[in-house]
């Protein structure tokens, strides 16, 4: 399997990452597969194009950092890191099993390439502000990318961190919202309305861009230009579809944490069979 190198279209690689996610979903009792499918194209753009990182040297001090603040999207991160070359995809067969590195939420001390242990929502942006501030002391300032869910924006700590990032002019911090419009109990707007999001982030001192969160090229191009404005943190509002890529999983909030039968997994893999089948976790 190509691991993020040139030659294979990132869109095809995203399809392979989605296959890995569904295979993991088939291995586990229950999984957050639909949340992971939502974020895949963002992760592929970051690890395949935008971020400076080295899978052979996960502790490279000058690497860009990525924090999955929506920690329940762990399957997406695990699959992406496997694709990017941090470990062999076959390791994912232990997903959620006793003693596995790969819990339902990521543990930075267990999984190579995971920068922060997350799972309790609302923590990631503060961690990102801290990492980005610490970069001021580094020989070469790195960038920090933090992916949040739109439901996660209910958490007050997100907005504490948002204010802090603007106040300290943390321009090497990039927030990304996986804006699929759904959270555990239903549509975000029906649970706790968060719109107008762009105006909210702007008013908190961030420079914002809205982009199609499933267009890898557009995501890559947008994030290549950070900071969007010198002296300001950058926010990418990525419009996404929860469950993206598997027809019967799309826009199904009730599948946020769900069990999948072997038949459902097989059907999903068939739908996702357009790309290379190499390297999946068999």
């Amino acid at each position: 399997m190509k691991r993020g190198q040139s030659g294979v279209r990132l869109e095809d690689q995203a399809r392979n990452v989605r296959r890995l996610i569904m295979e993991m979903a088939g291995l586990a009792d229950k999984s957050h597969a639909v949340a992971a499918l939502s974020e895949v194209d963002i992760l592929v753009a970051l690890y395949g194009s935008v971020m400076r990182h080295d899978p052979t040297n996960p502790q490279w001090p000058e690497r860009d950092r990525f924090i999955l603040s929506k920690g329940h999207g762990a399957e997406g991160l695990y699959a992406t890191l496997a694709w990017a070359g941090y470990y062999d995809p076959s390791e994912l067969q232990t997903y959620k099993r006793y003693g596995s590195k790969f819990a339902g939420h990521p543990n930075r001390l267990a999984v190579p390439g995971v920068e922060a242990s997350t799972g309790a929502l609302g923590h990631g942006l503060s961690l990102g502000v801290g990492m980005a501030l610490a970069a001021r002391y580094a020989a070469r300032p790195y960038r920090v990318f933090v992916l949040m869910g739109d439901g996660e924006l209910n958490e007050g700590q997100v907005w504490e961190a948002a204010m802090t990032a603007a106040h300290f002019h943390v321009e090497n911090l990039v927030g990304i919202v996986d804006r699929n419009g759904l959270q555990n109990d239903g549509a975000c707007g029906s649970i706790l309305g968060n719109e107008p999001l762009e105006e909210k982030w702007r008013s908190f001192g961030w420079e914002c861009r809205t982009v199609d969160g499933h267009d890898v090229q557009a995501l890559s191009k947008t994030m290549a230009g950070v900071p969007f404005r010198p002296g300001k943190p950058s926010m990418v509002l990525a419009n996404t579809i929860k469950g993206r890529g598997v027809s019967f999983l799309e826009n199904r909030y009730e599948l946020h944490y769900a069990a999948y039968s072997p038949e459902q997994v097989a059907r999903a893999l068939t739908e996702l069979s357009g790309g290379s089948k190499e390297g999946v976790a068999r």
Partner: protein, 310 residues
């Protein structure tokens, strides 16, 4: 070295360690006086993140994961409970090298009411793996403890009150995290085992007890985690009665920790836990509330005598 109070001891040590180790940064949550001397000396290494303790701890953890040694400091009740999940998930779980310094702990702000009393903090912090829990007894020990936690690679939670505390330790005194200091050796009757500012009360009570013909042991358990189980076990086997003294609820703190050790090791002695009762305290000055809780030297003496005569 002249130090006015615990906070002064902390500030002096932070300044000295900051000179020695440029990775040290300090953060506050609209509570910058606690780190102001450091901030004046190293303005580029100090951050006031506003009234947002969850964010404060998260930022510190992020900095620690990128090689900094952050010290965060705020009012004890907010520095322990408001950000507890962040301490657990972002600091303890991730082995982030963050030093948390909680001030105004215990009932030192008792006249401000319940919202400003950090009286459960040691108990809850003790539940989090990878976090050292320490409560110095006097300004000089606050200085030594600050140096110790800054020199140790790992997270720590340090707490003290705001009142001026009498010096117990002379300049040059030894301090080792996780090692009980026996301040007074006694007979087979009773041991007073104290933490933080209650060490001074224990010493005063021991002096009063000597007038009653009782030679009480006094032990300073400045580190609640890791607990010096060996020293406490030995002490428990040396006496018939042990009284624990803490400016903290009797649930979860020193009394609980000591009881766990002694019960587990069948130490044999009886333990009375002196501390704050399981109730919301009335409004009052620190001294009034300590009296209410039986934590004055005279009342500790009475409790010790009652235990001995039982």
């Amino acid at each position: 070295m002249t130090l006015t109070d615990m906070r002064d001891g902390f500030a002096q040590a932070l300044l000295e360690e900051g000179e020695r180790n440029e990775a040290i940064v300090a953060l506050a949550a609209d509570t910058v006086k606690r780190i102001s001397r450091f901030a004046e000396r190293f303005p580029g290494r100090a951050f006031n993140v506003g009234i947002a303790e969850q964010n404060l701890v998260g930022i510190a953890a992020g900095m620690a994961l990128c090689g900094r040694v952050p010290v965060v400091s705020s009012i004890g009740t907010f520095m322990s409970m408001r950000c507890y999940e962040q301490v657990r998930n972002d600091v303890g779980y991730q082995k982030a090298n963050v030093k948390i310094v909680a001030t105004e702990c215990g009932v030192s702000q008792g006249s401000l009411g319940i919202t400003h009393m950090a009286v459960e903090d040691m108990g809850i912090m003790r539940c989090i793996p990878n976090v050292t829990v320490v409560a110095p007894a006097d300004p000089y020990q606050a200085y030594l403890a600050t140096k110790a936690i800054l020199q140790q690679d790992g997270a720590a939670y340090m707490r003290f009150g705001s009142e001026p505390t009498r010096r117990i330790y002379e300049n040059g005194a030894r301090f080792e995290l996780g090692r009980v200091n026996i301040l007074r050796r006694g007979g087979a009757e009773v041991a007073l085992v104290a933490v933080g500012a209650m060490v001074e009360v224990a010493l005063q009570a021991a002096t009063l007890l000597s007038e009653d013909g009782v030679a009480a042991w006094v032990a300073d358990v400045h580190t609640l985690k890791p607990l010096d189980a060996k020293a406490i076990g030995e002490l428990a086997r040396s006496v018939r009665q042990m009284l624990t003294l803490e400016e903290h609820v009797v649930t979860g703190g020193l009394g609980s920790a000591v009881t766990e050790v002694v019960a587990a090791e069948s130490g044999g002695c009886t333990i009375r836990r002196l501390g704050l009762p399981d109730e919301y305290l009335p409004v009052g000055s620190r001294q009034e509330l300590l009296d209410y809780c039986g934590l004055t030297a005279e009342k500790v003496r009475a409790s010790a005598l009652a235990a001995i005569r039982e």
